[in-house]
Symmetry: C2
Subunit: 326 residues, 2 copies
Amino acid sequence: MVENNLKPYVIGLDLGGTNSVFGIVDSRGDIKATTAIKTQGYNTVEEYVDASITALLPIIDTVGGLDQIKAMGIGAPNGNHYTGTIEFAPNLTWAHNGVVPLADLFSKRLNNIPVALTNDANAAALGEMTYGAARGMKNFIDITLGTGVGSGIVINGQMVYGVDGFAGELGHVTMVRGEEGRKCGCGRTGCLEAYCSATGVARTAREFLEKSEEDSLLRSMKPEEITSLDVSIAASKGDALANRVYEFTGKMLGEACADFAAFCSPEAFVFFGGLTKAGDLLMKPIEKAYNDHVLPIFRGKAKFLVSTLDGSSAAVLGASAVGWEL
Amino acid sequence: MVENNLKPYVIGLDLGGTNSVFGIVDSRGDIKATTAIKTQGYNTVEEYVDASITALLPIIDTVGGLDQIKAMGIGAPNGNHYTGTIEFAPNLTWAHNGVVPLADLFSKRLNNIPVALTNDANAAALGEMTYGAARGMKNFIDITLGTGVGSGIVINGQMVYGVDGFAGELGHVTMVRGEEGRKCGCGRTGCLEAYCSATGVARTAREFLEKSEEDSLLRSMKPEEITSLDVSIAASKGDALANRVYEFTGKMLGEACADFAAFCSPEAFVFFGGLTKAGDLLMKPIEKAYNDHVLPIFRGKAKFLVSTLDGSSAAVLGASAVGWEL
């Protein structure tokens, strides 16, 4: 048997609401083999793990068997790193009303290799630190701009999990206080996520269209069908209203980052997810608002980076990075 | 010579704007000897260190000499832990326009014992972790409510210094955005400190008095002479307006803590400083606003504690705790 710290691969599992994607990854971030199953359609977590193992064993064989696997890392919604459990995940039929010991179940089926899990945003941050834009950094914040706004925070080279395993929910800091704050999916109002997620950007566009008579390429669409991608395309064609939507979004993100700097003074903010495709349209307003608003001692210090991980494999790489930490 | 890790004492230096207080402290937080000099009146840092050493040597002798001293810790304004320097401290004549290697200078004069420094709020947090309300905790936030609002953040049992040594400036997160935010001493507007410091509380009282005709014990005073202590005394006598000032202050602190929880999900928030003398008048609104505003997964989890360190010795104990970390 190969010594554990010499084993060349980890398994990464990106456990999403629809698909569960498995990859076998080496220490440089090369994905050697991959497979996937549907996440839903199982009554119990045991059935889900059964289906996973059935899909996994053949790709494990392609790299030389379980003896070559150091550990497994899982990125999953509502994943708790401390306990290896998924807790009350509203979108998972087999974990929506309880605490499911997913890490333990996988470990038992895989010759007791170490298995760890964390939520998807923390996995993305570990992926960025292990293979991506934050390689070598000990203090940075990874912000995922997708359907929601997620975050993973690294301080002193360690992931911040907090006392209960749920730290790093920067999508839910309050940016607009009081009654004018937008309703957020979390049940509260005024959260960063309600403004700066992909859905938040589309909502801002609809609000801007309603509030003015200004001409815009977006007026040719039904308001309820506008997505953040449409806004980005219009903005890149020089549409003034669409540009203001990105300025508004970037300004709020930059102001939020200024508060985050007061907390942990990171070397960099790394942005990941669909919205970052807007490039400078978004990144320039973020950096400007940050330097306009941050405490003078932090001004001009932090880097503003876009993830260097390939979108399609980033989640599996992030999950595998959780395994390398073991 | 006694082995370094068996040496029973550290020196703590609370370097304030007016006085520099030295204490020799054992591992249980008992201050065995103490002395003080004026902080100001020196042209150079070398002269300041000379005067310090002259005052220190006699009290070092009372505990058996330098051989009994493990290290020295300094809590100082604008103190940078990474470099052991004080940087551009506006209130220190011998450090206001440069970078002063204070830790090195003390070490050289004290037989090369290790010397570390950090800012006063971080020192307070380390003091609380070593001797006070946060003993045994690995994740907590210490918030100092004095003339300003300072903070020290501990995550995974480590002080958060950030990439540059200046992290943990939670007094300067933005609580009121836009033009209606109060001017803060840092040059920006809307900071937590502008509302929830002792001076912020007095200002809130003046604003409340101006905005209404309501009867209040505070009306017998000249508005510009009202202090947070006056507000606290009036509130404890049942003055409704004064009570609302503390409710306002507590609500803002509680909402700020809700954002901090999204960041690092601490076990506790520990409050220190003059304003905490208001007791439940302040602490109850903080805890209520926190639980009303925090993300549901964090609700009811965090403890809200008042420092258990004696006010007069807390700063020296905090500084000494910096030494024990070495």
